[in-house]
């Protein structure tokens, strides 16, 4: 028996405690953070173990659901929590290498980013979701500009402007729902959604969708992504790709399926996802800086997830969740690797990175991650793309699937170009990576390979996805 609230209370407790610890030992704070994230990972595993049996509902304050706030975790919520906790833990090991001044505040911000992302996944109350969205985005604003150079600040300010407009839209959506139903609990809203005026319901959904779309890197609202991913510290970028982005896309999915009970083919969402894919991949193809290329590629991948959710058959949604898993691991790995490569080469351009990945400690994980992103069979990424395509064929959306496959070819081309440079004959000696640099990458790569060869446990977790589409937790 584990309480979901502990997953929120633990990082929050240590975030409050860190300044006190930092008074007598500044260096020790980093190790405390790693320890806390490790415990969080264990809690997430225990939680997943429990939600496989039955959905967990935790009543805060002991009030019955629509009266008080509840946390509710279903199978998918448990899965997402595990993805977030795993990436946070592994990236926090990498943080031991990169010291960011002031250290104590950096660690507090990353703990609270973890707390916000987990909270967005497990909460069952729509206004509480907004509060956690704000926690996540304010922590992200702080971390995005942590380099305190012009590039970091100019990326972050775009993020702040778009993010706060987005959250205002979320609040307007909540206001519309509240005005018509006088409740904030998601399941209560879902049960009584028919009482809402259809027009008001449409506007409320649109504004919530646009609001969460900012964080989920959806097409017209993702202009902040390249600037932030370019200017933020490398470990932070890895966190962004694997934590807040995933939790907000899950929030998007819950808005669509759980709260508003749309099911079946949503052409609007699917086409928006497809445009996002095309935009991301085309622009990524034209980049010559490594981190920008990865950032745009990340937009493309998020578009694939949105598309999978929009097609709305059980298979494609299953594929979308698989894609979330694969993308979180692979992109986090690649951004960590990019941090090392830029440090070793002292340049951000791809053409300068001749032979930097020749060292097998870096090269092998990078190749695994890229192959997984491209959807090659023995890796996790394969199942994601494969099931999205199968689901699309199931829904007879042949046009969308054909365009999607065309976009994938663009992706293959630019990653192949990168591999060709990075594995060429080295022109000079590069510093070899320290253990804290290559160990996190190894962990991610091992997870990608293991779950690529034995995907059965994940299919078991995702087996109830059709219930989620029909409005379950």
């Amino acid at each position: 028996m584990i309480r979901p609230v502990l997953l929120i209370a633990l990082p929050l407790f240590f975030a409050f405690l860190l300044p006190v610890i930092g008074l007598w030992n500044k260096k020790g704070v980093k190790y405390v953070t790693v320890g806390v994230m490790g415990v969080e990972l264990l809690l997430a595993v225990a939680l997943l173990d429990e939600v496989l049996l039955h959905p967990v509902i935790d009543k805060i304050g002991g009030f019955v659901p629509p009266i008080g706030i509840v946390l509710m975790v279903g199978r998918l919520g448990g899965f997402l929590t595990l993805i977030i906790a795993l990436s946070a833990f592994v990236i926090s090991i990498y943080n031991l290498w990169e010291d960011k001044e002031p250290i104590v505040r950096y660690n507090m911000l990353s703990l609270l980013l973890l707390m916000g992302s987990v909270g967005m996944v497990i909460t069952g109350d729509i206004f509480n979701l907004f509060v956690f969205l704000e926690i996540t985005s304010i922590a992200s604003y702080g971390l995005a500009s942590y380099n305190r150079d012009a590039r970091g600040f100019s990326g972050a300010i775009k993020y702040v402007v778009l993010g706060s407009i987005g959250s205002s839209f979320v609040l307007i959506g909540i206001a519309l729902i509240y005005a018509q139903l006088r409740t904030l609990n998601m399941l209560d809203i879902a049960h009584r959604i028919g009482e809402m005026d259809p027009y008001v319901r449409l506007i409320a959904f649109t504004s919530l969708f646009l609001g969460f779309g900012v964080e989920a890197e959806m097409f017209p609202l993702n202009t902040w992504v390249p600037g932030v991913y370019d200017g933020a510290p490398n470990a932070v970028v890895s966190m962004f790709a694997s934590m807040p982005a995933k939790s907000s896309i899950f929030a998007l999915a819950r808005m669509m399926f759980t709260v508003f009970s749309f099911s079946g083919f949503m052409w609007f969402v699917a086409i928006l996802g497809l445009i996002t894919v095309f935009f991301g991949e085309m622009v990524a193809f034209a980049q010559d800086k490594l981190k920008k290329m990865l950032a745009y590629s990340s937009i493309g991948q998020m578009g694939m997830i949105i598309m999978g959710l929009g097609i709305g058959t059980a298979m494609s949604v299953e594929g979308a969740f698989f894609q979330m898993f694969g993308h979180a691991l692979a992109k986090a790995l690649l951004f960590l690797a990019a941090g090392y490569m830029i440090y070793a080469v002292k340049s951000e351009k791809i053409q300068d990175m001749v032979g930097v990945a020749k060292n097998p400690l870096v090269g092998v994980p990078v190749v695994i991650a890229i192959l997984s992103l491209l959807g090659m069979p023995p890796f996790v990424g394969f199942y994601g793309k494969f099931y999205i395509v199968l689901g699309g064929i199931d829904a007879r959306a042949y046009g969308i699937i054909a365009l999607f496959l065309a976009a994938t070819i663009i992706e293959v081309v630019y990653y192949a170009r990168f591999i060709k440079v990075a594995f060429a004959k080295p022109v000079r000696e590069y510093v070899s990576p320290e253990p804290v640099v290559y160990l996190p990458m190894m962990v991610f790569a091992i997870v990608i390979v293991v779950f690529g060869i034995f995907p059965a446990p994940i299919f078991a977790i995702l087996s109830k996805v059709s219930m989620f589409i029909l409005g379950g937790i």
């Binding site: 206004f127 604003y141 407009i165 307007i172 509240y178």
Partner: protein, 110 residues
Amino acid sequence: MIFYAASLALVAIGIYVVISKRNLIKIIIGLDMIDTGVNLLLISIGYVRGGTAPIENGNYPLYVDPIPHALVLTAIVIGVSVMALALSIVIGLYRHTGTLEIDEIRGLVK
């Protein structure tokens, strides 16, 4: 009804400022305006004609809806937090580039 119109007008003016102005501090003022508008919107949803503030006074039967008040207390604090953080980012940017205009910053930061 006029309260809805007023608060949505504040939101609309805020959006206009954010889209059309090129000065960062002006944009932050616009964001603040959107926040204020949404807060007024939430409070006017909770209003009940003829109701009093939801504090038990023993003899008055009709109260306004207390939930939006709780939500707006939260939203106000969130708004000021975002504003302070945004301003500190803008100050940092100004220290590096010496300007507040987006177009000039775009030229200076590759």
